[in-house]
């Protein structure tokens, strides 16, 4: 993808490198200003709190790589969380079976998005806007908006609240997911085809890539990962409610775009997303530890997002102006 970027200069100017520097600056700043920020306990805490959004962002990366978007992951997290509670408490399933069924539901829900987007060729933004409403609505309808699931056994809460070999238990799931998605996107032909589809679905079809199946795959994966995130969420908080994960889709998209993945598809990386998630998580935690108003974290995330975008566009614009003295065109819109 980076054919024109060779040598140390281009590595220094790469999006991920800049983001890494931003992250390091954040860390050093908050370590100096905040109370107990750089401690091991707090690092674990940051990890614990960013697992669900991190998982969603990981799953969102291939989706955005293909030029799509999935607004429904947060709602699906809510639906899966309460279904998990329902399977366990009301259907009397043992927890592993309930978890497996929840993941099955996640795959089915992802399949709904996938079939509408890949086979009916509907715009992902609108389809997932519809399922965003649908999944959240189902969660509310099933629980009547008030029912919550609590009193999970301690062996299950271990997954969300305890440490195993010194690291938070859910971080292990997250690391496994990172490895899976990194291999998928960067070391398999699937990853290549996601990028090809993002660049040009038509071109990818002529190159012999099964565009429909590959696009279906990313949405089904997003559904499965949302279900896993739902189980971890339930284990961390010890309860499942219909409003679980509200707004998480926006955090996930922000992290992915901050990580250098183009919203039009075709360009991006899993390690970039990882850095994006880390930058946002450290910012939130750091601002809390520096006793600054919590709203600043959200504001700064927004500012950072615009700066990251402008930063990646300005050099291109300037070189374009130099080369052709023509005005840059409007970007093509709507994934």
């Amino acid at each position: 993808m980076n054919t024109d970027q060779h040598g140390y200069k281009s590595i220094l100017l790469r999006h991920e490198t800049i983001l890494f520097v931003v992250l390091a600056v954040e860390w050093i700043f908050f370590d100096a200003v905040g109370h107990n920020f750089g401690t091991y306990d707090n690092t674990c805490d940051i990890l614990r709190h960013s697992c669900e959004i991190g998982l969603l962002a990981l799953a969102m990366t291939p989706v955005i790589l293909t030029g799509g978007i999935d607004l429904s992951v947060g709602s699906l997290l809510g639906l899966c969380a309460i279904l998990f509670g329902k399977f366990w408490r009301d259907a009397g399933m043992p927890l592993p079976l309930a978890a497996a069924c929840t993941i099955g539901v996640g795959a089915l829900a992802g399949g709904l998005n996938a079939s509408l987007i890949a086979w009916l060729r509907l715009p992902p933004l609108i389809v997932t806007l519809g399922t965003f409403s649908l999944f959240r609505g189902l969660a509310e309808a099933i629980t009547h908006g008030v029912d919550t699931f609590t009193d999970f056994p301690a062996s299950f809460l271990f997954l969300g609240q305890e440490r195993w070999l010194g690291i938070p238990a859910q971080a292990l799931v997250f690391i496994a997911a990172v490895i899976f998605f990194w291999l998928l996107v960067h070391r398999t032909t699937f990853g290549r085809s996601f990028r090809a589809i993002g660049f040009s679905p038509e071109g990818a079809r002529y190159a012999g890539i099964p565009v429909g199946r590959r696009m279906a795959m990313v949405y089904v994966l997003a559904g499965i990962v949302s279900a896993i995130a739902a189980i971890i969420y339930t284990a961390r908080l010890g309860q499942a409610k219909a409003d679980a994960g509200t707004g998480y889709e926006l955090f996930a998209i922000t992290a992915v775009v901050l990580g250098g993945t183009s919203i039009f598809g075709g360009v991006g990386s899993v390690h970039g997303t990882l850095l994006g998630v880390a930058a946002i998580a450290v910012l939130h935690s750091g601002i809390a530890h520096a006793l600054l108003p919590g709203e600043m974290a959200g504001m700064l995330t927004g500012v950072l997002l615009i700066l990251a975008l402008a930063g990646s566009t300005l050099p291109k614009m300037i070189s374009g102006l130099r080369a052709r003295k023509s005005t840059p065109r409007l970007a093509k819109q709507i994934p």
Partner: protein
């Protein structure tokens, strides 16, 4: 008929819903609750009109909810300082237009994708408002609610203002050159440029206009109650995008009619009260809304598929 299939089918769905309500739950049509419902939705209609323009221009604006909240709170604060209401209205519209100009400058000037730009501004304005105001409600002085008019008159004023804006914009879109320009830019910005239209200026203008309409809508919302909720407008972006899409505006730009948007908004707005009157649990509202959005796009997809085969 074929050309307006989407608009007609939405209008038909709305008609069937109203007919079903007339048969099974005539209590829905009591004038006072109905007027209240329409009044509540009047600001949303104004925002939805702006959103339709933005989407026809092949952009999107998901920051309207945050803009709406900031404008509402500002309007409330100015009103509490006993500014004349006309001035408050002007200030609210101007603040909205300034927000729109910010989005527009980033989208049209720098060529950044509108969905990400407005995602960022959505978070920034909302959190900024929370930071500065700490979620305090603004108390309005007497004489601000309903412009100091009797409630009935105030409600009718709002509804008529919203309808007037809808009709004016619908006519302008169809008959004014600038309206056709928006369709042209949305269909193909490059072709529009070759035809002598300035796509970036048009895009910037559409965002500014969207902001101004949001400011107006915020004012229309503020005067409905004695206090201003700092969290007003949450989810407004999705509500209006849903109405616009259900109303037959193509998300890929260049296609759509405002009266379709009007029907789409009414259809979505009627669901919640209709459920209450039909004695269905209100929790199903979001499920039905989502199903309507999916149904609307699926019919589109199936029709296009048949055409292409």
């Amino acid at each position: 008929m074929k050309k307006y299939f989407r608009e007609i089918s939405v209008a038909a769905a709305l008609g069937i819903l109203l007919l079903a309500l007339a048969v099974f739950a005539p209590s829905f049509f009591q004038p006072q609750p109905l007027l209240s419902l329409v009044t509540r939705e009047a600001p949303t209609l104004v925002v939805a009109c702006g959103m339709a323009l933005v989407i026809i221009c092949r952009q999107i604006d998901i920051s309207v909810g945050s803009q709406f909240a900031v404008c509402s709170v500002c309007a409330g604060l100015f009103a509490a300082m006993h500014w004349p209401l006309v001035l408050v209205l002007a200030a609210s519209v101007l603040i909205g237009a300034a927000f729109g100009a910010f989005n527009g400058a980033l989208v049209a000037g720098l060529g950044l994708p509108s969905i990400v730009v407005t995602l960022a501004t959505m978070v920034t304005w909302r959190e900024g408002l929370r930071w500065l105001r700490q979620g305090v409600w603004v108390d309005l002085p007497n004489g601000v609610q309903w412009f100091g008019l009797p409630q009935m008159t105030g409600q009718w004023t709002l509804v008529l203002v919203a309808l007037a804006i809808l009709i004016l914009l619908a006519l302008a879109l169809k008959h004014f050159a600038i309206g056709r320009f928006i369709y042209a830019v949305g269909s193909d910005a490059e072709a529009a440029r070759l035809a002598g239209i300035r796509p970036r200026l048009m895009t910037f203008g559409v965002f500014v206009f969207m902001g101004a309409l949001t400011g107006l809508a915020a004012m229309m919302n503020t005067i409905q109650s004695p206090q201003v909720d700092p969290n007003s407008g949450t989810g407004l972006e999705l509500k209006t995008i849903a109405a616009v899409v259900v109303g037959g505006v193509a998300i890929s730009g260049g296609r759509g009619k405002l009266w379709g948007v009007f029907a789409g908004l009414l259809l979505l707005a009627c669901i919640s009260p209709a459920l209450t009157h039909l004695h269905v649990e209100a929790y199903w509202e979001k499920v039905i809304q989502g199903a309507i959005i999916l149904l609307a796009v699926v019919t589109d997809g199936l029709r296009n598929r048949r055409k292409s085969i």
